[in-house]
Every structure is written in structure tokens, then in C-alpha cells.
Amino acid sequence: MVEALGGAFLQIFSGASILYLVGGVIMGLVVGVLPGFGGTVGLAILLPFVYGLDPVSGLALMIGVMAVICTADTFPAVLIGIPGSVGSQATVLDGYELAKQGQAGRALAAAFTASLFGGLIGAVILTAIIQIARPVVLSFGTGEMLMLAALGLSMVGLLAGRSFIKGLIASMLGLLLGMVGMTPTSNEYRMDFDVLYLSNGIPLMVIAISIFAIPEIVDLLRRDTSVSQETRLSGSWLTGVKDALRNKFLILRCAGIGSLVGMLPGLGASVVDWIAYGHAVQSSKDKENFGKGDIRGVLAPESANNAKEGGSLVPTLIFGIPGSGATAVLLGGMILLGVEPGLNMIKYEIDTVYVIIWSLAIANLIGAALCVMLAQPISQLTRVNVRLLAPFLIVLLIFATYQSSRSWGDLIFAMAIGIFAIYMRRFGYPRPALMIGFVLSNGVETNFYQTSQFYGWSVFERPIFLILLAICAITLFGGLRLLKKQNLAAQDNPTTKANPAQYLMALTMAGLAIFALFFTRDLTWQGNIFTQVIAIPMLVLSMLLIWRMSRGGLRNPDMEDIDLPTGDGVSEYKSGIWLHLGWITGLLITAALLGYWLAIGVFLLAFLALRSGLSWTRAALVAGGVLAAVSLMSYLLHLYFPRGLIQEIWDLPFPLA
């Protein structure tokens, strides 16, 4: 084995392969930084170039791209609160808070260091177990997958914020949103309202981007400051690296979690960061700072999501099962190179496997080094006033959302969910809880149904199932205890009085539950049982919430309203919500008429001149420059932009079309 490892190492460093690896890393960084552009797209762009390369170079190129995307997508997550891809949803929670406190450089450097170690540990684990992993992977059946999904759901208690009841309601709303589309059990369409877009379910990235990013951008605009609320940036990249080293055991454990969850196809990519985050909260003694800028909340998901890449190669290489979207394209690329993953490859071509593992490790090193170097300068962005930054963020946000399924549905639903999320944020309904519910909805329903079909009660004879069940119980219990503590700590909160909007929000939640029950009533029992199991308790809880609010009282944790003035009686907000939503909606309407490319020109010009206070000439120069840059990018990468009415009527030349 050592000999084969050494041989594979030399193969990468002999000839041009290492150059391809570096090229792949750089391309991966560019693609990873663009939010909404995961590894899938990055690798797909490469496929035509892969054909004809020698296998080592081709693998190095593809692995290079794949390995660093989960590293680079941290930039948007930390700097602007937009998850760059599904792997960095949880990073947003504390990373973005740190950026607000002027510590973006530190958060980024810590994240990259954690990514690096996560990636390396993932590669080591992959090396160690690739030849014996088959029984491990096979011992996780649908029952165990169900328990992993349940474990994810039990994290809700840890992420619930102040009001547990609101946390539950939010996660149930997420579960209901995840039920839109074809039922996994009975071949029926559920809550699709005969809308083609909904029949495939709402894409994950539409929800992830809209519930985090839209409220944050609107919030920034209302405050009229920069992302960093401190005028001076503190905490250098060196602090971040030190943070990572100080928490090395946390990183190690999360890398282990990441590798394991990555090995289990079907659940993997979208929950691993939440499980790691939950683990970090659970295993820490002082939990108060999580969600308010605790560096461990950045380290844990970043370590896990990079280690996951190594883990997801296990099913890919042994079973030919892609563990994520990116590995699906990787499989395609391997066929073009004449490399055939599968049991035979593990047995007879272990060299190739080691080439892949080395590429993964080296790519992680190069990627993390480049990112750490960029962390400090790029974090200066958080000092720019939002009036100058916001128009670009909005343009980017719409582009990123549109990449989900490249349809107008993405934008319309993102806008609607984003507006709803603004009120969730205001009244203390935790958005991460909604996200977890959404991510796990299908996994819970499918695995529950399949477990009942495949195993029945005999699933309780399976040891791993029972162990996971126990961990779920402990997590849930830990979450409840944490809440109790927080409620005690919240004793000195200012008195809050319920206002009509709060009642309206709770009523809306009840209404959504009734809505779901009503529109699934005609399905077969397999099709609507899961909806009922979620929607009925959600209705009951919403009613309970209203009752508790009506009792009012001091220090009621159900009464959160962050729009109310704090201690000194001055609200931090300088303006209302709808003005800013108007700008975003305005851009969408313009894009619906003129197409995205022309619309962003008009939007940037108007926003910069009217809102940011630039002169019309300068605004025009900036808008023109952005348009030119976007055309160039779209020419090189074949990007897809939303089409408008004029594109439907006339046949327009590039870049208008």
C-alpha cells in the first residue's frame, strides 16, 4: 500500500499533471466564490476538455475543481450572508455575525484552516478505509438513514433561538415546503397546483439563498451601514488560524462526522454542515455565543463539509453511486478518461484510487493557502457602505438564485419566501430550523416509508439504528436543557408587548398548516399521512403560541420583535422594509421585460444615482463596466440569464439574448 501511495504521488508530480491540478484549483476557486454555482456546474464546464487528456491529468483537473469549491464558497457565506453552495448553509450563522462585528478576516482564515484540515483528514480516512469500506457503507440501511435524518431534525432544539415553540413551527413549515412535488410513496403530485415548476419540488438553493440573503440585505439597507458594524476591522487572519489550531479536536471530530455522512449517499451534502454545527453547540460548555458570532460555529461546518468530499468518494469509487451532484459529473468525466470506478477498480487499480486521493489532498492544500492569502484583502468589502454594495449584492443574488433550475419560478418563489423570511427574522422564528426541516423532509418521509416496507418492526433489532436513536434522544434532551438556560438568561430582556403583526404572523403559520391539510385531502393515505403528521401539530402549536402571546407578560420569550427600540429607546432602523423590497422587485420586473443583462444595467444606474448618491456619469460608468464584465464572463462560461419579454418577441444578438 505504501508503495502504491508513493507511486501515485510521483505520477502526479511527473509531467504536466500538477499543472492541471493547479489549474483545476484556480477554476474551482472562481466557481466556488460565485454563489449558486456549485461543483456540479464547475465540473460540467470542464467535461469537453477532459476528453483526450491522460487519466492522471484529467483526474487531477477534476478533483482540483471539486476539492476547493467547498473551501471557496465560504467567501459569500461569511462576507454577505449568502451560502455559496449547499455545504455552507450553517457557516452563515456565525460567520456572517463575525463579519458584522468586523472580524471577517478572522472568520475566513479560521474557516479555510478548518477546511484544509477537514479535507486532509477526509483524504486520510478515505485512504485508510477505501479497501474495507463496503461492509461499513452497507450496514447503513434505510432505518439508519431515517435515524440520521431524525438526528438532523433533533438539532432544531439547539438552533431554536429563544422560543422553542417558534423553532418547532419553523421546522414544520420547512418540512411542509419540502413535501411539494411528487410523493415518494404513491406516485402522486402533492401541493403542486398543476404548476410545472412545483411538480419537481422547490429547489434547495432557492430556499437557502432567499431565507438567509434577502432578509439580511434588506436589514443592512434599513440600517444604512456597512456589513461590519465596527468602523475598524479587528482580528487578523493570524487570529483565525490560531482559533482553528486551538479547536483542533473539534475540527477533527467534525471531519470524522463529515467523512461518515459523506459516505452515505442520499442524505449527505445538504445536512452534513448542520449536523456538524449541532455537534459543536452540543459539545461546547459555553453555548451562549452560538448564532452571535462564535468562531466554533464556523470551524465545525467548514471542517465537515470539506471532509465530506473525501467521504462521498467512497460510494462513488466502490459502488459507482455519486454521493453528491459534483461526484455525479465526476463519474461522467471518469468514463471519458477510460477510468471505471467500481469494485474492480478497488481490487485491481488501486493506483488510480491513490491518484485521486493525492489530488484531493494536494488540491486542498493549494486551495486553502490561496484562500487564506485572499481572506484579509477581500474582507475589506465588509467596510463598504451598503448603499454602494447592495446593488451588486442584489444583482448577484438574482443570478445565483436563477442557477437553481434556470426558470422564472426560482426568482418568483425566492422573492415570496424571502419576504416571508424577513418577518420570520423580525419575530424570532429561527430560519435555520426551517432550513433543516426543508432539507430533511424528503429523507424522513422516504426513509420512514421504505423502512416500514423493508424492515417493519425488525428494524429495532439493528444495533446501529438503536445507537443513532439514543444519540437523537440525547441531542433533543440537550436542546431542551439549553433552552431552559437561555430562558433564565433572558430574564433581563426588555418588556415587549405583542403587536397585531405578531398575531398575524402566528395566524399565518396556522393558516399555512390548514392550507396544506386542505390541498392534500384528496390524495391516497400514503400520499397525505406525512402531511397530516406535520401539519396538525403545526396547527396546534400555532394556536398554543397565540394563546401564550395573549397572556403576554414580561420576559415572554415568544414575544421577540427585533424592530422594537432597544435599551436606549432608539430603533436601529432608519427606514421600513417595503422601500427596499421595492428596489429588488423593480429589478425583477425590469428583468421580466428587458431580460437580465439589460435590466441589471438599468438597475445599477438607477440605484447608484438615486440611492447611493453617485453622479449620473459615474453611475453610468460603473453600470457599463459591470455589463461588459458580465458579457465577458457569460461568453467564457456560457452562463444562463433570465430572459425577458423582449427576448420572447424578438431574436436578439448576444449579449442581449
Binding site: T40, V41, L43, A44, L47, P48, Y51, V137, L138, G141, T142, M182, T183, P184, T185, S186, N187, E188, D194, L196, Y197, S199, N200, P265, G266, P315, F319, G320, I321, P322, G325, A326, A328, V329, L331, G332, I335, L336, G338, E340, P341, G342, L343, N344, K347, S405, R406, S407, W408, G409, E445, T446, Y449, Q450, Q453, F454, Y455, T524, H638, Y640
Partner: protein, 355 residues
């Protein structure tokens, strides 16, 4: 042989004059695929992409457009709505575009009658069992018939319909468990003994199940079959030693399959496997555009490098090009009326599925 050579030579001499009918110098061809990057059809299109670019007159750029507005159906609707004649927009379809069309899904707005096919790629499928089932070959059919079989499926309206209908026609007691995310995961489920009967398309069977067969864990049972030159369905050339479904049917029932169930099976087999993937142009294109494409695709099909990639990816089947491809698409997209009624009823009764 000599005659053939000289004929080929003559063709080669003639070719430039024929092909100059349409020229794509400095043009960009949009090759639309109604799937995201990384799916089977996307990978297939990207594998063909450089060869199409090379063989078309004028060596145009070929780019893949992944149109995914509303999934495979939505993407296909979108191509159908926006397509323009002239050969600068071509479309890659697959079984999961053919099936909703055949099943009369109300979300379908595209119509195969508006498309002219220029290439078709067949694929096959293999049904296999766990060795501990005790079934070694089709001779042990009686054992299999007494067993409680569990089969994992993505959904009834997918390519899984074909093996499920085959099981029904053989009178097997099969419980279909839906909601599997991919065939790759059912392959894992059978290794865990969660399901005990499974099928895989040819390439994945060769890569991932054959090693298990060699280890003695799995045993092949029947192939779905392959389209023969005369239009019938017979033994799959990739699996010369394993009987095909029509053969097993004949052995079990003592007669050749016939009737509306068989007609339905045949239509869906053809649409999902026999000619699974097509490249089509808008039918409103000029005839010389279509001819230019058919000639180019013929060259693609004859290029040994392209052959190797396609065989690795799809199995040992001849790509269908030339005039044959027209009949192939007719077979894959038209179901006799009686068979259509039969399948609609079967899906409703057995799986509560209707469009």
C-alpha cells in the same frame, strides 16, 4: 469486400459536394438537453459534443444548453417552443422525455411529430437476483414464483415501468417500494437485502453488478432484450448467454407474448431502452439541413473513438443513424390505441397512477 471498399471510396469523394448544402463555419450550434449537468443524458451529450463539432461541415462550435425549466418535461416544452429550423438548435431526448409523452402527461407541450431524428442510441437492461434466493437461472422459475419479491423503484412513470410490467406479465408476486432516488441506490439496497430483485441498465450492470456475480453474491436472471433488425425483440447481444424477457415469457406461458399488454410493453421498452436517446432537429428545417446532419451523425457513428466512448457508456449496441432512425423514432413514440388504453388502466388499477 472490394466492392464495398470502392463504394466507400466513391462515397468519400462525393461527400464534400453533398455536405456543402449546409455550412456551419463560424456558427455556434446549441445542443439542448433537458437535464442538469452531470446526468446520464448530459454526459452522453457532452461525450458526443466534440465529434458532432468535428463532423459537421465548417466545424462549428457546439455548446450544451442545459434547459431545466421545470425538469425534463419543462425543458423539452421549452425547446419545442423556442426551436428554430436551420440546424443551429438541436435537442437530445431520452426515455424520461418519451415516457410522459407516451403516457399522455398533461404537462407535456412537446410533440415528437415536429421533430426529425438524426441519431438514436440504444441501451439494455438486466434483471438479477441475490444468490441466496436459490434461483440459479430461468429453470428455477417455480422457486421464484413462490417467493415474496421486493423491488425498489424511483416512481412508476419512470423507466422502471418496463421491468415492473414484465414481472406482472410473468405472474410474479412483486411488491414495488417507491421513492428510491436512483438505480444506483437500488443496487445498494439489494446488497443490503432490503430488496431481493433488481435491474440495472447495461453499462452499470457490467461495471457494478458483474463483479458481484463473480463473487457469487448475485445471479443474472433475464435481460429486457434488444431490438432486432426485423423490429422484433430478441436476445441482448451484450448478454448472449442470458435469456431475454420475451424468451422467458414463452418458456413460462408456453406461447409467444401477444395482446395489448405485450404491445404496451413493446412500445415502452422501445421508448425506454430499444432506442433510448435521440438527437432531433426541428422538422421544419430544410431537407438538406437534415440530410447534412444525418451524414455527419453517420460519420460520428463510424468514428472508432466515438464508438468506444458510447459503448463504455451505453453498452454494446449499434447506434442507429441514416434513414432507419425515422422508423426507430416512430416505434418509440407511437403506441397502438388499444395498448394505450390497457396501460392507462393498468397504471390506475395497480399503482393508482393517472395523469
Amino acid at each position: 469486400m472490394k466492392k464495398l471498399m470502392s463504394a466507400a471510396f466513391a462515397c468519400a469523394l462525393l461527400l464534400p459536394t453533398v455536405a456543402s448544402a449546409a455550412d456551419y463555419t463560424d456558427k455556434t450550434i446549441e445542443f439542448w438537453v433537458p437535464f442538469k449537468e452531470g446526468g446520464g443524458t448530459d454526459t452522453w451529450a457532452r461525450a458526443l459534443q466534440p465529434f458532432i463539432a468535428e463532423k459537421l461541415p465548417g466545424k462549428p462550435d457546439v455548446i450544451i444548453v442545459n434547459e431545466t425549466t421545470g425538469g425534463a418535461i419543462g425543458g423539452s416544452n421549452e425547446f419545442h417552443r423556442r426551436m428554430k429550423p436551420g440546424g443551429e438548435m438541436i435537442f437530445g431526448t431520452t426515455g424520461s422525455v418519451q415516457f410522459p409523452f407516451l403516457l399522455g402527461d398533461k404537462r407535456v407541450r412537446y410533440d415528437y411529430a415536429d421533430w426529425a431524428p438524426v441519431l438514436a442510441s440504444p441501451i439494455g437492461g438486466m434483471v438479477y437476483l441475490r444468490t441466496d434466493s436459490g434461483v440459479k437461472s430461468v429453470d428455477d422459475f417455480a422457486t421464484l414464483k413462490d417467493m415474496k419479491l421486493v423491488f425498489g423503484s424511483q416512481a412508476i412513470s419512470t423507466l422502471d415501468l418496463v421491468p415492473l410490467l414484465a414481472f406482472e406479465m410473468l405472474g410474479l408476486d412483486v411488491q414495488a417500494v417507491f421513492g428510491m432516488k436512483s438505480r444506483a441506490l437500488t443496487r445498494q439496497a439489494i446488497q443490503r437485502n432490503e430488496v431481493n430483485i433488481d435491474y440495472q441498465t447495461t453499462p452499470t450492470y457490467l461495471k457494478h453488478v458483474v463483479p458481484l456475480v463473480e463473487e457469487g453474491e448475485m445471479v443474472p436472471f433475464m435481460s429486457l432484450g434488444a431490438l432486432q433488425a426485423d423490429g422484433s425483440i430478441g436476445r441482448d447481444p451484450t448478454f448472449p448467454d442470458v435469456p431475454s424477457f420475451p424468451e422467458v415469457y414463452e418458456k413460462v406461458h408456453g406461447k409467444k407474448p401477444s395482446g395489448p399488454a405485450w404491445d404496451s410493453w413493446k412500445a415502452f421498452f422501445t421508448a425506454g431502452y430499444g432506442t433510448q436517446k435521440f438527437i432531433v432537429l426541428p422538422k421544419s428545417s430544410d431537407q438538406d439541413v437534415i440530410d447534412t446532419y444525418r451524414a455527419a451523425m453517420k460519420e460520428v457513428a463510424e468514428d472508432p473513438r466515438a464508438q468506444k466512448i458510447l459503448k463504455d457508456e451505453l453498452g454494446n449496441y449499434e447506434i442507429i443513424v441514416g434513414d432507419q432512425v425515422v422508423q426507430a423514432m416512430k416505434d418509440a413514440t407511437e403506441v397502438p390505441e388499444e395498448a394505450q388504453a390497457w396501460i392507462t388502466n393498468w397504471l390506475k388499477e395497480k399503482y393508482n397512477f393517472s395523469n
